[in-house]
Subunit: 279 residues, 2 copies
Amino acid sequence: MTTLIEGKTVAQKIFDNLAHEISLLEKKPSLAVIIVGDDPASKIYVNLKKKKAHELGITSQVIELDESVSEQELLKKIDSLNNDPAVNAILVQMPLPEHINPVNVIEKINPLKDVDCFHPYNIGRIATGNKSYVYPCTPKGIFRLLDFYNIPVEGKHAVVVGRSNIVGRPLAQMLLNENATVTICHSRTKNLSEITKTADILISAAGCPALIKKDMVKDGAVVIDVGINRKSDGKLCGDVDFENVKEKASFITPVPGGVGPMTICSLMCNTMDLFKLQN
Amino acid sequence: MTTLIEGKTVAQKIFDNLAHEISLLEKKPSLAVIIVGDDPASKIYVNLKKKKAHELGITSQVIELDESVSEQELLKKIDSLNNDPAVNAILVQMPLPEHINPVNVIEKINPLKDVDCFHPYNIGRIATGNKSYVYPCTPKGIFRLLDFYNIPVEGKHAVVVGRSNIVGRPLAQMLLNENATVTICHSRTKNLSEITKTADILISAAGCPALIKKDMVKDGAVVIDVGINRKSDGKLCGDVDFENVKEKASFITPVPGGVGPMTICSLMCNTMDLFKLQN
């Protein structure tokens, strides 16, 4: 029998606890979000973050910079936020205009305020099995789901499909830190099916609809779908052929409503964690 | 037919080229090695590094600190080397006495002078698929061997046994950066044989004699043995049951004489690379 992993429900419980914890604080955690340009999707995401922060009692500010801002000016702005004791957490909404090097921007953020956990120093801490100030939002969200449903990781074979810096790569490191045997697949992987079939825990973060089919999944596998793809009818779907794969999986995340809600949840928890480190 | 990967030969070619390149320089690359205490094995390793540096024309200094040195004093010493423009590369010989936290020591070294490539910032650069100032010595040495013997990595399934920060973990990241499908196994892996048998490239860095047996290896696999273990008769051996595994492997490294010589080779090349970045 398959258990549906209800990310929305888990996220809500965490939000309720967090809102309560923050309500007891005199000084509130503070998040600064920088957005460059007018990309509509970015504006939607930033508004969601601002709204959620407000609901939880987190102070937030959104700094809107023009599309034409120079890399130099953007770095100066980040620097001033780094040096502002009233700001605990900083994120720069991606993507950035082409004339700005995102690596330089990511590395300008003080690792102690790096709420997205993109800075190589923080990634390096995780990749060397050390504790980090924060953890990347989506991988951390996935771990919260696994914890909530008491899904063991140690000794399991975890297969991660996708090697982005935002999800696949840090997730693989975190799974390794929890003693899973980890395989990372990607677009150059030759025999994807053979490999995914050996997974006790299969996580797809490839951005490819219907990538993961029923015959690619072991009986009883835990299937985590990180994909967010828009179908021709406008509806959202993941990387997993949900209707068919769910018959085989012991646990499965739907899209939407699975991993998605956990990402913003992690962002808010990260903001709180950084606040605690600084106060 | 099996090809023996002759690390000693490859290392010597690289040393010859490096010595020649350095002989043409007016200003020489400079390496500082800190050793704390009197551990005999550490002294041997440091002397080897000093000797090799001298042979190549690299200026080196060995700073010997007493076993009882405080962490604070050691960090101060590193700081002075960080600020010394005459020093291009710094390493602290491990292990350190128990009262000193190695993570603090590693993180004190300026990433631009981090010749061992242990600093989380450098590891994070590699783990995010970015270019790094340097690469960890043993993994880099392994890549030099693969290059020398024209062994392709892209699209291959690479299985790394062992997850140390010195070898297994960074090696897995570097293999991923070269588009291999990567699996990392370790002491909590449940079905090691099943996994190693799927490897096109099998690298063992577990420190466990006769761990890798013939029936754990696919026909034609490339077998890289990073293990350095001492047998009861005093002789060195790797993790691989060499005599039997070699019948199946297309390429195999012996121990000693395979990966070992490439590590110090990488250290010297790293010193040169850091010198070039700073001059």
